[in-house]
């Protein structure tokens, strides 16, 4: 009961994390169904209609109900601790934002029993989603779900912006803020500025479907490309909403497990800001095949190349941090290294897609699906998993088994590449995305089978994580305040922290306040002397 009424940021963080993880498992099951259907040509696991519903819900679930809330969960738990505050700025709004998210998730999923789930893909292109072409109620559930989830994210983001700007401990200047906090500040700003575009897009669609307006109806003066512009003006910044928190986690984990301060703190912090700004200028690279004028093509292609620069800066900063560091290859660092390796593949395929002739060739093929999963699974999910292993002792007072953690990492890393590398090749071989089956003479059979085997390895890796979790939680708490000999303020309090977080609000004198306190002889402020 006390969990239902809670306004404590740590409890709300755990609620977000557990709910997000449940949705992650549901989205994962949907992915398994897709891979079972496509494992062999002429598959019969799902009929075409159900297949469309499953892949639509897989994308929608993973983006809005799993990866976003998991990032918010870590932010909720950690940001007040990282900046030395007692809670977020508006604790009741924080609870509201969680419960609106739950409601949105329930609404989304109630479409399955109530007349069929949405089936037009996660970006629900108009006019396919108009009533004439999608007469069922699935799209209406999708619209209402998106509206609620957008509301929840907007409330949450405003809360984090105010918290980070107003509630930092004395001495915690912007220049000393942990990179995860920087990353989440930018994430929240992106959300506040990008989500209204999605809200407008789906509201206009709802009006078209329910009140008979003609926003997307070309026959009556509307414009189908209006949807694509509105959706991707949100949709591309959304990619950074999904990846920046993971990048923030990696920026916390890599230095602690390399026993070195982050290389180029300022450029890593500012590169998040640059990514946030550039992220708003590249949306039409999702629309290269819609007949844009040549000038637009050139501008959006160039912008998309440019966004590789701040991203590359981060990669090199992490590598330079590890260079000559005293590496401890614990599970959190393994997942962070996995993030770096896989995200580079996601990034490079992204740059390839920014090249217009390549995009024209592979648009709407499995190449794109492979690319986005290297970014969102290899990137976001690996980063979030690094955060889980890193912060688990703080949240529970228990440390997850290292042996099982390494097994989880190994299976997930191999499985991930077995699924998504074949996707990239399949795309080059011409396999279109979203088809429910293919025939044996198309030459896609063995790569699809390989991908399905990889999917099972990923599923097994998460069973290992669940087993690790259950095993660890059945043991008594060890109360390790600071098991990693870490740098930042969250490790200064007990594990788990008391409701008020800190007995006294700490005063901050550097970027690694806890390290300076524990190792005054090696304190950062001495380095300049």
């Amino acid at each position: 009961m006390s969990w239902l009424m809670t306004v404590d940021h740590k409890r709300i963080g755990l609620l977000y994390l557990s709910t997000g993880f449940v949705f992650f498992l549901v989205g994962g099951l949907e992915a398994m169904l897709i891979r079972m259907q496509l494992a062999q040509p002429n598959g019969t696991v799902l009929n075409p209609d159900l297949y469309d519903q499953i892949f639509t819900m897989h994308g929608t679930t993973m983006i809005f109900l799993a990866v976003m809330p998991l990032g918010v969960g870590f932010a909720n738990y950690m940001i007040p601790l990282l900046i030395g505050a007692r809670d977020v700025a508006f604790p009741k709004l924080n609870a509201l934002s969680y419960w609106v998210f739950v409601l949105g998730g329930i609404l989304m999923y109630s479409s399955f029993p109530l007349g069929g789930a949405p089936s037009d893909g996660w970006f629900s292109y108009a006019p396919l989603t108009e009533r004439a072409f999608s007469p069922g109620s699935g799209i209406d559930f999708w619209i209402l779900g998106i509206l609620l989830l957008g509301l929840s994210t907007t409330i949450g983001s405003i809360n984090f912006i105010v918290t980070i700007i107003q509630l930092r401990a004395p001495g915690m200047t912007f220049d000393r803020m942990p990179i995860f906090v920087w990353a989440f500040l930018v994430t929240s700003l992106i959300a506040v500025f990008a989500l209204p575009s999605l809200t407008v897009a789906v509201l206009l669609l709802l009006l078209d479907r329910q009140l008979g307006t003609h926003f997307y109806n070309v026959g009556a003066g509307g414009n189908a490309l209006l949807w694509q512009n509105l959706f991707w003006f949100f949709g591309h910044p959304e990619v950074y909403i999904l990846i920046l928190p993971a990048m923030g986690i990696v920026s916390e984990v890599v230095p602690v497990f390399s026993r070195k301060p982050l290389f180029g703190y300022r450029v890593v912090a500012y590169s998040s800001v640059a990514i946030g700004l550039l992220g708003f200028m590249v949306w039409a690279h999702h629309m290269f095949t819609t007949g844009l004028p040549a000038a637009s093509l050139a501008v959006f292609s160039a912008d998309s190349f440019a966004i590789g620069v701040p991203t590359g800066v981060k990669i090199f900063s992490w590598l330079a941090t590890m260079w000559r560091g005293k590496l401890r290859l614990s599970t959190p660092l393994l997942f962070a290294i996995g993030f770096i390796a896989l995200f580079v593949i996601g990034g490079i395929t992204g740059i390839m897609l920014a090249v217009i002739p390549i995009d024209w060739q592979v648009e709407d093929s499995y190449f794109v699906v492979g690319h986005l999963h290297y970014v969102l699974f290899g990137g976001s999910v690996f980063g979030l998993t690094a955060g889980l292993y890193y912060w688990f002792p703080k949240m529970t007072g228990r440390i997850l088994s290292e042996a099982l953690g390494k097994l989880h990492f190994g299976l997930m890393f191999i499985g991930m590449n077995l699924v998504f590398m074949p996707f990239i090749v399949l795309g080059l071989l011409g396999m279109p995305r979203r088809i429910y089956t293919y025939s044996p003479d198309q030459g896609w059979s063995s790569l699809n089978l390989l991908a399905s085997v990889g999917a099972f390895l990923i599923a097994i890796s998460f069973l290992v994580l669940l087993w690790n979790f259950i095993r660890t939680m059945r043991r008594p708490a060890q109360g390790l305040a600071d098991p990693w000999d870490a740098f930042t303020l969250e490790w200064k309090t007990s594990s788990p922290p008391a409701p008020y977080n800190f007995k006294e609000i700490p005063t901050v004198g550097g970027r690694r306040p806890l390290w300076d306190e524990k190792h005054p002889e090696q304190a950062d402020w001495r380095a300049g002397q």
Binding site: A89, F90, T154, S157, I158, N159, I161, V162, I165, Q166, V192, F193, L195, P196, S197, T199, V200, L203, L204, L207, D208, L211, G212, T213, H214, F215, N217, A220, G221, G222, N223, L226, N229, L230, F233
Partner: protein
């Protein structure tokens, strides 16, 4: 220990930063709606109401004037309480609500006068949507001002403690500014 003044300053800082973030998000919302309107309008050679005569501007012009007046009144309400004038605050807040109601009635009249329906081509829909969402925001602003008025009657505000009046005024200015942009976009440009 934190003093009461420090705690109040902190809460005021939270309220102001929070409202600014809300308004930023709202501004993008209306900006996107207006962009959608321009996008549709520019992709259509024959846009109705493209050349409205000056006579057509009487009702919307009057309405715009009323809303601008209400923004002036709410700024006076804020100044009154800063002087400690509680009576003046209450009277002006009531006047703001009244002007808001007149504006909503005027918008309804205008919508009926134009005789547009949401389903009349894309234009009807975009007009209906823009005016509708703005009207919803004016109504929300009226609810906020009524709540501030009720608190004022209970004696909640003083010369040094009236952050709620201040942020209500900010919201009202925002709603007024949005309408001015819309008026220019829908009727004048």
């Amino acid at each position: 220990m934190r003093t009461a003044v420090e705690a109040r300053r902190r809460d005021e800082g939270l309220a102001k930063t929070g409202l600014l973030a809300v308004l930023a998000s709202e501004a993008v919302f209306f900006g996107t709606l207006l962009t959608a309107y321009l996008f549709l309008r520019l992709s259509q050679p024959n846009w109705p109401l493209q050349k409205v005569g000056l006579s057509q501007l009487v009702v919307p012009g009057l309405n715009t004037g009323i809303l601008l007046l209400s923004a002036l009144v709410i700024s006076r309400a804020n100044r009154a309480i800063a002087r400690g004038d509680r009576q003046g605050l209450q009277a002006r807040l009531l006047l703001v609500v009244l002007l808001g109601a007149v504006f909503i009635a005027g918008q309804l009249f205008e919508f009926l006068r134009l005789g547009l329906r949401p389903g009349d081509q894309a234009f009807g829909g975009v007009f209906f949507t823009l005016m509708g969402f703005h009207a919803l925001h004016v109504v929300a602003g009226m609810v906020i001002v009524i709540l501030a008025y009720l608190r004022a009657r209970l004696g909640d505000f003083s010369a040094h403690r009236h952050i709620a009046v201040q942020v209500s005024a900010w919201f009202w200015y925002f709603v007024t500014a949005v309408w001015v942009v819309m008026f220019l976009g829908l009727y004048v440009v």
